[in-house]
Symmetry: C2
Subunit: 81 residues, 2 copies
């Protein structure tokens, strides 16, 4: 069966997010002054061929741990559907 | 009131996603051969000061249209909480 895994990878809350800060400045320059914080991460969608949802989740976790997220600086969450 | 807007920006389905294809190759080299497709986009979290959820949504839409998404190549969806 084919499963879709959506992986959200975000910079850790404890760390600065310079890309987000730059975008917040840009939005302010465009007149959107009521945006108080911006954080930017990655959204990754995997199509996984697996026998069960648990199997698909474990594949997605392995992909996130080994390649997609840098756990020194980022945290991730996975949703299977 | 403070609202959180989560904006998911993904490459259009009709277009190639070379970054996703490269990551799929990398996952295959790591032994994850049951991943059939990878698409990579951005996940952006805004903190918006607004009087209502509708007001926050319209600010997030303006931010997405003006700066965060390139609608020639990307589509976006917004979730307010």
């Amino acid at each position: 069966m084919m499963f879709t895994a959506e992986i959200k990878v975000m910079p850790l809350k404890e760390l600065l997010d310079p890309q987000g800060k730059a975008v917040m400045g840009g939005l302010g320059n465009l007149g959107l002054k009521n945006i108080e914080d911006v954080r930017i991460g990655k959204h990754i969608i995997l199509q996984i061929e697996a026998t069960s949802e648990d199997d698909a989740l474990s594949t997605a976790e392995e992909a996130a741990n080994k390649l997609l997220a840098n756990q020194v600086m980022e945290e991730y969450s996975i949703r299977i559907s």
